[in-house]
Amino acid sequence: MNLHGLLPEMIMLAAAAVILLNGLCPRESVRRASQWLALAGLVAAFVAAWRLAAPGQHAGWPLWPLATFGSLLASGVGLLAVLASWNMPFKDQPTETDSAYRGEYFALLLCSLAGLSMMAKVNNLIWLFLALELVSMPTYIMVAAGRGQSAAQEAGVKYFFLGALSAAVYLFGFSYLYGFAGSTRFSTIAAAFHSALALGHPPAIALIGLLMVVLGISYKIAAVPLHYYAPDVYQGAATPVTAFLAFTPKAAGFIALILVFNLTGWQLSSSLAGAVPALLMALAVVTMFVGNVLALLQRNLKRILAYSSIAHSGYMLAALALGPALSPEATRPGELGGSSINGLSALLFYLAAYSLMTLGAFAVLIYLEGQTGAAEDFDGIAGLAGEHPLAAGCMAVCLFSLIGMPGTVGFLGKLFIVQAALAAHHPVLAVIIVINAAIAATYYLRIVAAMYLRAAATPLTVRRPALALKLSAAVATFLVIFFGLFPGALYRQSVAGGRSVPTVYSAAHWPGRSAKRTAVGMPGSARAGLWAN
């Protein structure tokens, strides 16, 4: 890959630098251009990523569809995130119209998105480490710099300190992976895994490394065991920042996990190594139940969405554990539905779907905060449908999508994961996902009921929110319905991304190694299952 492939990231980082300088200008009118610059940068990055996603680009880079999926996701959802934080979150008082940190905020946001965008383009443990840090470090600052209330600072401490711990944990894993293969390059590590698996068990050091990486990254995706910060941080951070947190680190973490497991060639099936995919599956199930059951107990809306975010990580972890193998009866490429979708395609589709619907829900919350001060719990949104029918409608659609109602993108996301589970002969997993969706429906419907069936406790005062904010909620809701009815474009991108991950090790998949065209698979590796049976 040459530098041309990194064009979207370079555009984002350049835009971030310009915004950072622009934010220092003493004139408020000039500083107000920060949002517009961020928008322009993300639109340009999206266009660049779209052009790079055209077939035939970077053919020597096997994971290129996955990489462009990451870029498109980062710049596309990033646009909505910029719109949603148009009213600056870092205010000393809610009445202030401006913040001293306008430039910094949008520059940090762009840096974090650039990290996500380059996540799937890395080919080296060192680079992966830096990309992960590039995603998280700006978010630490965005959480902690919310001024005025001590809740933001409490959230900042918890988020940052646990983040440093998670970085140490996955770095420890990286050091063992390096020690196992003798190189930080993905191609060499993959070859080492391949030869070790061909001999029998991979050495303990490789498995310890993998486990530590999974544990460390479980913090980024807010999955068990490092999930417990999520409710506090989501509640304490400024709501636009929370919306950003729900999407960016999670997407980055999942792409990183795909890359790391891709090193193993998805062939961990011997007695000892099989513990890794089994552990992933167990974590997925536990994460689902923890998120959904604890969400039932909450009254604060941001906490409910935080637990729901944990639960959705569980669904996506399940899809990850299903791996890239297609079922033997896989249909022709490009055909919709059927069993042509593998676990990773389902994961990518779900990632995009989840980003859209959770961003829509948070955008409505931000809108309401602008209206009444704080719409934090059920009482705050009671009777919303009467006073702000459009906002209530957007919220309801996004919540229905989070439940997985037919007609929304959330339904398709769950459907694909369940299909992948069934195709991989894991009917129990499919049943568990459906049960969890039913549990989740309870608390989502409780919010809908509060909006539509209860009368407003206090009359909602009206202050004019930014048009951009309304736009972000409306666009997210529109996309939730649009992709729910016409998933074509999103489906094609995610299937391409998921299928680009090879199911068997072959040296040809790793540029930089001697490109022998022989795909050496383990016996029986074409079968779907928990990473080959």
Partner: protein, 273 residues
């Protein structure tokens, strides 16, 4: 540039299995004693317990090292390993003991100073590993820059500069859980590394740094490191620069005094509203 020297596969590893088992138990026992001693030494507000803990800790450290040394000199590796490196044991002991000091001392300023000791002994170990440049960098960055900042902040942000120790420093939060989690983790790693199915673990055989003299010219040299860094890691270097900039901006943003917007921006640009 990553020249990989693959250890040759062979049967010698299976020979280790026999001694590996007893060795493993001894090391695990030492780990357990170390865990108990660390638990006792963590600040409880009682002095005698921590003295007893320190004694136990010395025992665990000594026991573990003696066992390691015996294993190395009598085990099947004896031929390959010359008299075990005394320097390694000295500096490892200093590093571990002062790490315990970092975690256990009730006064933050002493913790920071113990950390300097950890850094220095780790730097010495890096020199044993032929990474002289990294050793110097470690001292300059950690002991020189990061720790000085820590000391500044401790002096700035502790009531009375940390003397006498605050209540929350004298009593630790959840010592039992912390020690259990960490040492179960450590025990599992040690057990896997030293006692697990050894046929998979091929690293143990080659003595470290054997024959380094031949390679020293190209491998240990600073020039090789720099060439490698710029030939293979040019983009990560750029990324590291971006990250440092971000942290600079962020540190200013986070820790700037809470002031109204107007004063930060200059009175000339008061927003119209």
């Amino acid at each position: 540039m990553d020249r990989v020297r693959r250890p040759a596969a062979g049967g010698t590893v299976r020979g280790i299995l026999g001694t590996g088992a007893t060795m493993n138990n001894w090391l695990l026992a030492a780990t357990a004693v170390g865990a108990i001693s660390l638990y006792l030494m963590l600040p409880h507000g009682r002095r005698r317990m921590s003295q007893f803990g320190a004694l136990l800790g010395v025992l665990a450290l000594g026991g573990g090292f003696v066992e390691l040394g015996l294993w190395l000199s009598h085990g099947p590796l004896a031929a390959a390993v010359a008299p075990a490196g005394i320097f390694f044991y000295v500096f490892a002991a200093i590093a571990l003991a002062s790490a315990v000091g970092v975690v256990c001392h009730p006064r933050p300023i002493y913790c920071a100073l113990y950390f300097v000791l950890v850094t220095l002994s780790v730097a010495a170990l890096l020199i044993l590993l032929l990474a002289e440049f990294m050793a110097v960098v470690l001292i300059v960055i950690y002991a020189g820059a990061i720790l000085v900042t820590y000391v500044f902040v401790i002096m700035l942000a502790s009531p009375g500069g940390g003397i006498p120790a605050a209540d929350y420093d004298r009593v630790s939060a959840d010592p039992l859980l912390a020690v259990l989690v960490s040492f179960v983790f450590l025990g599992m790693i040690l057990q896997r590394l030293f006692g697990g199915p050894m046929d998979g673990f091929m690293l143990a055989r080659a003595p470290l740094a054997s024959g380094h003299a031949a390679a020293a010219g190209s491998f240990a040299g600073l020039a090789a490191l720099g060439a490698n860094l710029y030939a293979h890691y040019a983009l990560p270097l750029e990324l590291a620069g971006i990250l440092l900039t971000i942290s600079l901006v962020g540190a200013v943003m986070i820790s700037r005094k809470h002031e109204p917007v107007v004063r930060i921006l200059g009175a000339a640009d008061v927003p119209a509203e």
